[in-house]
């Protein structure tokens, strides 16, 4: 059904987006929690930093990644020297680019739903002997679950569709970093490949829709379970 090219790009895309979301999920939730529940100096700065990838053109983000994590970058040099590992031009790099671009969306969605959690329930849990961490794990996060799911899927979709930063930071290497959007872009660039491009476009849409609908169903289920009598 899928051509080898398509399935290759699809698999890379799924791996890249999956790893990206997996990698940012915990830090994203943690940052969202910090931003939602605490006041501390430098909060605005952190908030700004988190949003940076959203406000810059992806190509610029990719460029900045290249400058810092590339072979000659500050961190990149160090990675190379100590771990003999380099991120750019590898699928891990593509995942990083996708994760970075998706990070603000994840944080925003999670933060919004953390802020909607009734602090009265958290207070009740604390009087029941739960420390901050237990309150977070047993009350706050479960109640924010629909938002976390939403955020994760937004992030997944965003990582899945990442193009500019990936292209710049990880390049468009077939079999390694050529994700669906990069393959799609290449096809659009070739006149006469409209049909192939349309197929890839459809595949992207189907994948994204499946993840969206699955998340929707999940979020609805958790919400319905704890629904009050007024709907």
């Amino acid at each position: 059904m899928l051509t080898p090219l398509e399935s290759e790009a699809l698999l890379i895309s799924l791996r890249v987006a999956g790893v990206a979301v997996g990698a940012i999920l915990v830090p994203g939730v943690a940052v969202a929690w910090l931003l939602a529940r605490f006041e501390f100096p430098g909060k605005s700065l952190l908030d700004g930093l988190v949003h940076l990838p959203l406000v810059l053109p992806p190509v610029v983000v990719g460029y900045l990644l290249l400058v810092t994590l590339g072979r000659n970058g500050v961190i990149g040099q160090w990675l190379q020297a100590w771990f003999h590992f380099s991120l750019p031009f590898s699928w891990q790099g593509a995942a990083l680019a996708g994760g970075v671009m998706a990070f603000p969306l994840l944080v925003r969605a999670v933060r919004l739903s953390l802020e909607a959690v009734d602090p009265g329930l958290e207070a009740a849990a604390r009087t029941l002997g739960a420390n901050r961490l237990r309150v977070l794990m047993t009350i706050t996060l479960p109640l924010a679950l629909p938002g976390i799911i939403t955020g994760a899927v937004l992030a997944f979709a965003r990582a899945l569709s990442e193009f500019g930063a990936t292209m710049t930071f990880a390049s468009n290497i077939p079999g390694e970093t050529r994700t669906l959007p990069l393959a799609l872009y290449s096809l659009i660039q070739m006149p006469g490949s409209e049909a192939a491009a349309a197929r890839l476009c459809a595949i992207s849409i189907v994948v994204a829709m499946i993840s969206l609908m699955a998340s929707e169903a999940l979020a609805r289920r958790t919400r319905r379970r704890m629904a009050p009598r007024d709907r």
């Binding site: 750019p88 031009f89 710049t168 390049s171 468009n172 077939p174 290449s186």
Partner: protein, 238 residues
């Protein structure tokens, strides 16, 4: 199989794809991995350590830039030439003509119509187009009326879709598309020569890369390039 990473200008996409499959048929132990993007993007990636064995640029500027960055380049050679074509949608009523002093472009653009080009600020095809328009004395009139695309294929698409009644692209792009017709070619002396240099990248290029580089410069490859509208260097079949 041994992998050879070829970082090539986007305008080479179709031709290179054909060449790669042809080469791999006869060299089963070699896996050519082509990476396409605009020459600038590709150059910057190589400068930042992309695992390139071969760089195939659409202009000399980016090859020179890479050199200046201290990237080791060897066996550099200009392999191809290309031409600038004036194109229109397939069903356009504009007659074929060669844009020159006697045939101003501006006259063929209706009010509100735009001329599709690669962005003259950075897209190589656009830079050449700008040079031509300047030397033809049309830059002043047309500069505000350009539809600047971020690569040459995007400019082509604008004409294919009929958004722009006229566009300037490489002749290779014009030939690749069934939805546009070539109205004429810009005089070769109206812009700097459009040259595609190739070079091996790295201090110690491996043999497979070297061999592919040699093959690209050979006559078999030249035939393929010609079929896609390129002019192998040193020939002049316009």
């Amino acid at each position: 199989a041994q992998q050879v990473h070829v970082y090539a200008a986007a305008s080479l996409t179709d031709a290179m794809n054909a060449l790669v499959s042809r080469y791999e048929k006869t060299h089963e132990d070699v896996d050519i991995v082509p990476v396409y993007a605009s020459s600038s993007t590709v150059a910057r990636q190589i400068a930042n350590g992309a695992p390139a064995d071969l760089y195939f640029s659409a202009n000399e500027k980016w090859m020179n830039w890479l050199d200046e960055q201290g990237v080791a380049l060897s066996e550099r050679a200009d392999l191809l030439n290309n031409r600038l074509a004036l194109i229109a949608p397939k069903d356009s009523s504009i007659d074929s003509f060669t844009p020159d002093a006697d045939h101003p472009l501006a006259a063929r653009l209706d009010d509100g119509d735009r001329l599709a080009v690669g962005d003259p600020d950075h897209v190589p095809a656009g830079i050449y187009a700008g040079q031509s328009l300047r030397s033809l004395g049309e830059w002043e009139a047309l500069a505000p009326r350009l539809a600047r695309a971020n690569d040459v294929r995007a400019a082509l698409a604008l004409v294919e879709r009929g958004e722009a009644p006229l566009g300037i692209v490489y002749s290779t792009d014009a030939e690749a598309s069934d939805d546009v017709k070539t109205l004429g070619y810009f005089p070769a002396d109206s812009h700097k020569p459009i040259t595609y240099p190739v070079a091996l990248v790295g201090e110690h290029p491996d043999d497979a890369a070297r061999a592919f580089r040699q093959w690209l410069a050979g006559s078999e490859a030249a035939g393929v390039f010609r079929r896609f509208g390129f002019q192998p260097a040193g020939t002049d079949d316009s």
